[in-house]
């Protein structure tokens, strides 16, 4: 498990340190406080020797290449805090029982000034501007002190983005469930198929039954153009999972990813999406059980007060597995406020607002 994370010059995070991480970590804060950026930073660290992960997090935010202009700059430049590509991105983390920190630094080594002159008739004259980010360098110092450098770059002739990958010995499996679960359902189907083969699908089914007890089983049905997951809800026909509602799809995504992320990290943006308040206490109990069973550390964001309070209730007095952190925008930067176990008890019992 990660015990601390330090992120510098990444997205909206100039310099953020979070200590005392637990098995399940819940991040709250106002809009644009940097919660999703934090998850992305942890995800980048998980893929530290696979620079194509820098494209993946753009996709998770809904960014897409324009086919007529396959330029990665719109995805890569916003990785840098304040769009300043001269400042190195650093993501540093420590894991339990590891003496050395893991350290990822990302730079844009070949951003040049494109010189040109605006036509004289324009009111605002510019003599040049920074060129597009066409290469990212990932330098990773692993838990054993070894350094690995890999690049993602654009082929200047074809515009295609390619990324060098490398094996690493301290690999941590990392999965990201974005705020929009429907987009990841195709990937989840493959993972669910794998769980079926390993006879681990019952854990996913149990999680779904928290939301809808009428779901009796799940089935992968091969169809033209790919497989589809159906739910047996006791009706004459099976029902496509996609039409079972956002909460069910969301829970399916989380349960599948959690089971598949065994031994690693699961990042969930807006974990409460689609969840009715009545299922929240059971949701936490299930999540805690699965995360322990599969040894998965969870990092999740939320704006939902009921979800936070149901977590405090579900985790009881001990809170040894639960961390709550608020990201505050202060003095031009983002700072993390960590709730101690004592403070969590105060929040739970006195009913303090924690979301900022």
């Amino acid at each position: 498990m990660y015990t601390s994370i330090h992120i510098r010059n990444f997205r909206s995070l100039d310099d953020l340190t979070i200590d005392g991480l637990k098995r399940i970590n819940l991040f709250v804060g106002k809009n644009n406080a940097g919660k999703t950026s934090l998850l992305e930073g942890i995800f980048l660290l998980g893929g530290a020797t696979s620079p194509n992960v820098a494209m993946t997090i753009g996709y998770l935010r809904g960014q897409r290449f324009d086919a007529s202009r396959p330029e990665p700059d719109p995805i890569w430049r916003p990785l840098f805090a304040r769009l300043d590509t001269t400042k190195e991105i650093e993501i540093i983390a420590r894991r339990e029982e590891e003496a050395a920190e893991r350290r990822l630094s990302i730079t844009a080594p070949e951003v040049s000034l494109v010189e040109y002159a605006t036509p004289p008739e324009e009111d605002v004259a510019r003599a040049g501007e920074e060129g597009p980010v066409r290469e990212l360098q990932f330098r990773y110092l692993d838990a054993f002190g070894d350094s690995i450098t890999r690049r993602a770059s654009v082929d200047p002739k074809t515009g295609a983005v390619s990324a060098q990958r490398a094996q690493r010995l301290d690999f941590v499996r990392s999965s990201f469930v974005s705020a929009r679960s429907f987009s990841s359902l195709t990937r989840n189907m493959d993972q669910f198929g794998s769980l079926l083969r390993r006879k681990q699908d019952h854990q996913v089914l149990e999680a779904l039954r928290l939301l809808d007890p009428s779901i009796k089983r799940l089935e992968v049905v091969p169809e033209a153009g790919g497989s589809t997951i159906y739910a047996d809800m006791g009706l004459a026909n099976l029902v496509p999972l996609l039409v079972c509602g956002e909460g069910v799809v969301r829970m399916f995504s989380i349960a599948v990813e959690l089971t598949a992320a065994s031994g690693g990290v699961l990042l969930i943006d807006e974990i409460d999406n689609g969840l009715h308040h009545s299922v929240m206490p059971n949701f936490w109990t299930q999540l805690r059980e699965l995360s322990r069973l599969h040894d998965v550390q969870i990092f999740a964001t939320t704006h939902n007060d009921e979800l936070i309070r149901s977590a405090l209730t579900a985790f009881g007095e001990g809170y040894e597995d639960l961390g709550l952190y608020r990201l505050d925008r202060r003095d031009g930067g983002v700072k993390a406020v960590r709730y101690s176990e004592e403070a969590l008890r105060g929040v739970a019992e006195a009913g303090f607002e924690v979301r900022g």
Partner: protein, 219 residues
């Protein structure tokens, strides 16, 4: 779902905070602050003295806590654990206990009972009834009722109970005596906080002086 989740979330809304033990105390101190025209103070009833530690830990993390200018904690001295009768050992222990909570949360620690430490935020601790004696809020209120016409009647009532061999709470006698006094009002109200809200307590009585001084310094 906890009871806390069913009510509006608590948050820092004023720059002066008064932490008291429970809802009864919250009502009483709100009435006292109103009497003193000090309405810019937020009174937080924390649900018992054992909750002070965790409440302060959560309070200092509130997004608005940085705006707080002054914070006072008022709690009962009660009685020393295991002591069969009052021995005036509880007040210093209670004072140290609250000071430890303040220190653990990186707040200023007041030098002595009823005195503010410079902050920010300024902090003070008041141990009821008077910072020295064992006892509780009701002991202070009883003192304020000394000249009340019902006081001798209440005394005789408890003398009668003792003579009749009827057992009553030995270290909570102040609560029982206050109940008896409050039963004498035209609109009886056994709960101290509600009684204060109804105007049954004379806050101008000298017994409330040190507490009034603290609240004036807070507000």
């Amino acid at each position: 779902m906890s009871a806390a989740s069913e009510k509006h979330a608590l948050k820092v809304e004023k720059t002066k905070l008064l932490i008291v033990e429970g809802e009864d105390e919250r009502l009483l101190f709100s009435a006292l602050l109103k009497h003193l025209a000090l309405e810019d103070v937020q009174v937080l009833g924390v649900g018992g003295k054992s909750m002070i530690k965790r409440t302060v830990a959560a309070l200092v993390l509130d997004p608005n806590f940085s705006s707080v200018k002054a914070l006072a904690v008022v709690r009962d001295a009660d009685f020393a654990e295991g002591a069969g009768q009052a021995n005036n050992a509880a007040a210093p222990v209670a004072f140290r206990s609250v000071c430890d909570v303040l220190a653990a949360n990186r707040l200023a620690v007041p030098p002595k009972h009823g005195v503010f430490a410079p902050g920010p935020p300024r902090t003070a601790v008041f141990i009821l009834p008077d910072g020295e004696s064992d006892g509780m809020l009701e002991d202070l209120c009883l003192t304020a009722f000394t000249s009340d016409p019902a006081h001798p009647c209440m005394d005789r009532y408890f003398t009668c109970l003792t003579a009749a061999g009827i057992a009553h709470a030995s270290n909570r006698i102040a609560k029982a005596r206050m109940h008896a006094l409050l039963a004498s009002r035209r609109e009886p109200e056994p709960r101290l906080g509600m009684a204060a809200q109804k105007g049954h307590l004379d806050f101008s009585a000298p017994a409330f002086g040190p507490l009034v001084n603290l609240l004036r310094a807070l507000g």
